[in-house]
């Protein structure tokens, strides 16, 4: 199956694990100094997001999300086509900040959603990080290695569970093929 033919919505089935490609969302790479309380407050005002300062976590605010990428770097995820307004809001709230960097990276990555009771088992074949709920629980995320390429893995729903897997566009087909192959043993024969 090619990336383009992957279902864009979860199929109504009791499958142990499903893979779909998520539709495009606005994604901004945001950098600034979290030691500067004014920076965190300004971002909160402009976006409604409390930037996570704990490593490997993400936060939610309304329809937006902030994902920790590094000690001074976050990914802001928002509904599609809101990049310019969002970028402008942050820049206006933080005018003159020499450390501020806002970059529209909406088209940088392809995002897959891997969901179902076996999702952890499938993902564990591809990545060295500890995906056990005690180490990778609600609101966890990690930039790591996935099937020998680099990926951002994010636990979107802790109960199901449902993971988001962010990879560079050029690795999308490879990642989809790899995960589909890894999913085979959990799928009942047709």
């Amino acid at each position: 199956m090619t990336v383009d033919t992957l279902p864009s919505r979860p199929q109504a089935s009791a499958a142990a694990v499903t893979l779909e490609r998520l539709a495009l969302r606005t994604t901004l790479n945001l950098r600034g100094d979290p030691a500067d309380a004014g920076f965190l407050d300004a971002v909160k005002q402009a976006t409604g997001l409390t930037l996570p300062t704990d490593a490997n976590t993400w936060t939610e605010g309304g329809s937006r999300r902030a994902v920790w990428l590094g000690p001074d770097e976050w990914l802001v995820v928002a509904p599609d086509d809101t990049a310019e307004a969002l970028e402008q809001a942050v820049r206006t709230a933080r005018g003159g900040d020499p450390w501020l960097s806002v970059t529209n990276v909406s088209h940088n990555s392809t995002v897959f959603r891997l969901a179902g009771p076996a999702a952890r088992m499938v993902l564990a074949k591809a990545t060295p990080i500890d995906l056990h709920p005690r180490a990778f629980g609600a609101n966890a995320c990690a930039q790591t290695v996935l099937a020998r390429t680099r990926a951002l893995i994010l636990l979107a729903e802790a109960q199901a569970p449902a993971f988001e897997v962010w990879v560079r566009n050029s690795f999308a087909q490879y990642t989809a093929d790899w995960l589909e192959d890894a999913m085979l043993e959990y799928q009942s024969p047709p």
């Binding site: 490593a55 490997n56 990428l69 590094g70 000690p71 770097e73 060295p128 990080i129 990690a142 930039q143 790591t144 290695v145 680099r150």
Partner: protein
């Protein structure tokens, strides 16, 4: 596999990291004043101890930050990691290096 403690992300597999050579190299204040031999020394000559070595590492597949590590070159044991700009931990605070 070998686990390295990223000062920002926590414990991660060695495959996520790249190596950056010797740490804490003092660059010359005035490079123009050096003769060729001294400049070659600055550029190319590095320590190669048998024992604890301060090195730079980068968490390439993670947060992409550089940091420093104290590694025992015999056992490959990483005894400590610390952020850029921080002083290395005192030797007596390190866990016993295996041989």
């Amino acid at each position: 596999m070998h686990i390295i403690q990223c000062p920002y992300c926590g414990p991660r597999e060695e495959v996520e990291f790249t190596y950056g050579g010797q740490a804490h190299i003092a660059r010359p204040e005035n490079p123009e004043a050096l003769d060729d031999a001294q400049w070659a020394d600055v550029l190319f000559m590095r320590d190669n101890p048998k024992g604890i070595f301060a090195e730079r590492w980068m968490h390439a597949a993670g947060c992409r930050r550089w940091f420093n590590a104290l590694r025992h070159t015999v056992s490959h044991q990483i005894l400590a990691t610390y952020r850029m700009g921080e002083a290395p931990p005192a030797p007596d605070t390190l866990e016993e290096a295996s041989r």
